[in-house]
């Protein structure tokens, strides 16, 4: 039966959009298509990654020598404050939202998000918020109190910048709440009927967990920032001890969001990695339900561990005990994921292409960050290294070695789907090599620096730390250089790269069952699930089929999987 006949029998209007119908102008417009918005998120956040990276390199340049010789101490404070704020709120969090926007409707067979206009509103809060932050640096009075903005320090330094900082973060928080509402409703209500929760791709599970976290924790940060804004602008003393206020209350409110925020920043990429590893290992994912439920467990535990950032804030001993134990328990669901990924790769036919390299890099470096996290969860050790470079090393291994490598893995993996072109594999590998070297060279010595006692957030330090700091600084330059192969590769491949087929990885999830790039409403006719999302290498497992008679799909499906024979042999 032809597609027209099929649609006629089903009483569906014949409507065949051209593939890849979006023009470049659409990406600069107030568009409500989730794919346009997804790419807007991704490109915007990548621009902020570059800005945040420049700030980081300025910080590292100052720290190359023990003396204060490159920037003034005030500017130094603003630099590290904005570096952190931009990297967290304008790069990693929106990049996760960008992938979610692009992929969720495609993965669950929906035509768009539940609330397309709300989706656009959520995105368009980000550029002004980011511009505000950058502008505060340009006018020379940016926030200086660190990304945590602890009062009373934040009430007395860089006050104009602090006000701008609060406004900007409130705007970004609102944006991510609106996004989370959209993701939750879309995931819970708009799956095709044949897709139960246990047929949902793991990226969708991860976004379900992430969105629940955003929904429950971000508003509490907003409440804290509202009170902080009153302290700053209206003369109240909620967090100011001189007027009877309590700065520790701010810390509780701040970390009630900002601890879950680390999971908001890592869970989407746990999800992306769970997609990438089985596809490029040509093996079914090991422990689908374990990975899915461990995301929810991480979400729940993430909400009850915030005070482990406050072991030195004078909170009572029994409270420290509670937060120490719950924090350590998070290592269990995280470990489940790591072991599942390793077990998926075990005996698989691993294709060492750029997405897979970044995914494997992710697993490796994230484990280092995770282990130092368990160390920091132990109260005595945390008190010893509190506010030292050990903490800086830990968080960068998690956020750079985890989230950022995850973002790049996901970009390479879905690049053919998003742009309709293949990226250049050689440049992708160069990018990976430089990133891994730069990353470890920058952040590995920081563990040692922290154990030796070097404080974080200082522009001047004891000369005995010089050598390690020099290594870190040169490492950070390598990281800066590593983005160039990526940028050149992305732009060149997007314009002139080899045309990608609809399903270049021979994947089974639904986003690959449409054209590359997908047409405006995603699917000519919606696919129907006939198999789980990860049945790679299973003998005779049919792919999810599109009811469309489009010969492109057929051509894809008729090709045998590259490694199907060997997969059958290695499966137990």
């Amino acid at each position: 039966m032809t597609q027209a006949q099929l649609q006629e029998t089903a009483n569906i209007p014949v409507h065949i959009p051209e593939p890849g119908v979006r023009k470049w102008q659409d990406y600069f417009s107030f568009n409500t298509d989730h794919k346009v918005i997804g790419l807007q998120y991704l490109v915007t956040s990548f621009i902020f990654y570059c800005i945040g990276g420049v700030l980081a390199d300025l910080v590292r340049t100052e720290l190359r020598t023990p003396e204060v010789d490159f920037v003034s101490p005030e500017l130094y404070n603003s630099l590290f404050t904005l570096h952190a704020t931009i990297m967290i709120f304008l790069w990693i969090v929106p990049a996760g939202a960008g992938f979610a926007n692009y992929l969720i409707p495609l993965m669950i067979g929906a035509r768009d998000m539940a609330f397309p206009r709300l989706n656009a509103v959520a995105f368009w809060m980000i550029p002004p918020a980011g511009l505000l932050l950058v502008a505060s640096l340009v006018i020379g009075d940016a926030a200086e109190a660190g990304w945590t903005s602890y009062p009373p320090l934040s009430l007395v330094t860089g006050q104009v910048g602090e006000g701008i900082w609060i406004m900007s973060v409130l705007l970004l928080g609102t944006s991510s709440i609106l996004g989370a509402i959209n993701f939750l409703v879309t995931l819970l209500k708009m799956r095709i009927p044949s897709m139960g929760f246990h047929q949902m791709p793991l990226f969708c599970w991860a976004m379900l967990a992430t969105s629940a976290l955003v929904l429950l924790s971000t508003p509490v940060l907003a409440a804290g920032l509202i009170l902080l804004a009153f302290d700053l602008l209206a003369g109240t003393t909620f967090f100011n001890p001189t007027g009877g206020g309590d700065p520790v209350v701010y810390q509780h409110m701040f970390w009630f969001y900002s601890h879950p925020a680390v999971y908001i920043m890592i869970l989407p990429f746990f999800g992306a990695i769970s997609e990438i590893i089985p596809i490029h290992s040509r093996k079914p994912i090991f422990g689908y339900k374990a990975i899915a439920y461990s995301s929810l467990a991480i979400s729940f535990l993430g909400l009850i561990v915030w005070a482990h950032h406050m072991f030195t804030s004078g909170i009572p001993g029994w409270l420290r005990m509670f937060f120490m134990i719950t924090t350590m328990i998070i290592a269990v669901p995280t470990g489940i994921k790591i072991f599942s990924w390793l077990a998926t790769m075990w005996g698989g036919k691993i294709q060492f292409n750029s997405p897979m390299l970044f995914a494997m890099g992710f697993v490796g470096t994230f484990v280092i960050g995770g282990i130092s996290g368990v160390m920091l969860a132990a109260v005595p050790f945390d008190i010893h290294v509190h506010d030292t470079y050990f903490v800086v090393a830990h968080l960068h291994y998690v956020l750079f070695g985890g989230s950022v490598l995850g973002i790049f893995a996901a970009i390479y993996h879905w690049f053919p789907k998003m742009t309709g072109r293949m990226f250049n594999e050689t440049w992708g590998k160069v990018h990976f090599a430089l990133t891994i070297v730069g990353l470890n060279m920058t952040f590995l010595p920081m563990h040692k620096l922290g154990l030796m006692g070097m404080n974080r957030r200082i522009a001047q330090y004891d000369p005995k730390f010089t050598l390690l700091n020099e290594i870190c600084t040169y490492g950070s330059y390598i990281l800066a250089v590593s983005t160039f192969p990526f940028i050149i590769n992305a732009i060149w491949s997007w314009l002139y790269g080899e045309k990608a087929s609809n399903n270049p990885w021979k994947a089974l999830t639904l986003e690959w069952m449409t054209t590359s790039p997908p047409e405006i409403e995603n699917f000519e006719t919606l696919p129907i699930l006939t198999t789980g999302p990860y049945d790679y290498g299973v003998k005779h497992a049919p792919a999810n089929v599109s009811p469309s008679e489009n010969p492109v799909f057929r051509a894809d499906l008729d090709e045998p999987y590259p490694s199907i024979e060997s997969d059958i042999e290695t499966r137990i």
């Binding site: 959209n182 508003p219 109240t236 409110m253 009811p547």
Partner: protein
Amino acid sequence: MQSQTIDPAQTELNHHHAAVEGHHEEHPDHRLFGIFVFLIAEGMIFMGLFGAYLAFRSTLPVWPPAGTPDLELLLPGVNTVNLIASSFVMHNADTAIKKNDTKGMRTWLAITAAMGAIFLVGQVYEYTHLEFGLTTNLFASAFYVLTGFHGLHVTIGVLAIVAVLWRSRTPGHYSNEKHFGVEAAEIYWHFVDVIWIILFGLLYLL
């Protein structure tokens, strides 16, 4: 699993696509669910503020701090009864439209909006007659910020009701089948009411 014959009409969205031709209404159930999810986030802002209030309360030896004048209970008490009553009035509007009674719905909505406005006027009157200001002490600051933030939400609720009233001028805009706007405003109004009950207990009674 074996391949199967596929009937595109079985897929929800294709079916939907066919069903809604010439009737460009969004899925009302998703929107209502969206409102609930949104109110969870709103509720968490208030939970944050309440939590902060309780924390301040527990860290200070005397609460409210010495020298804070006692709060009058009469006006806010009347206001509380007014707001709770308005929730029931609002519910009548919803019941009316489900019986296709547009006129009744408009009447009940107008009364709710008026009651909401009375609440706001009462709150402003109370503000102007209080013997403490925003920065007098920690209790005063918390009082103004919490009640003010709630007042902002009442204002949004009243505006939402007025918007529904405005739209309902068009005959048939709302009916027993199509009344998402009314329901959304109603849920929001109940939310504002519930938050006020907690707030009243915390600030005035505790």
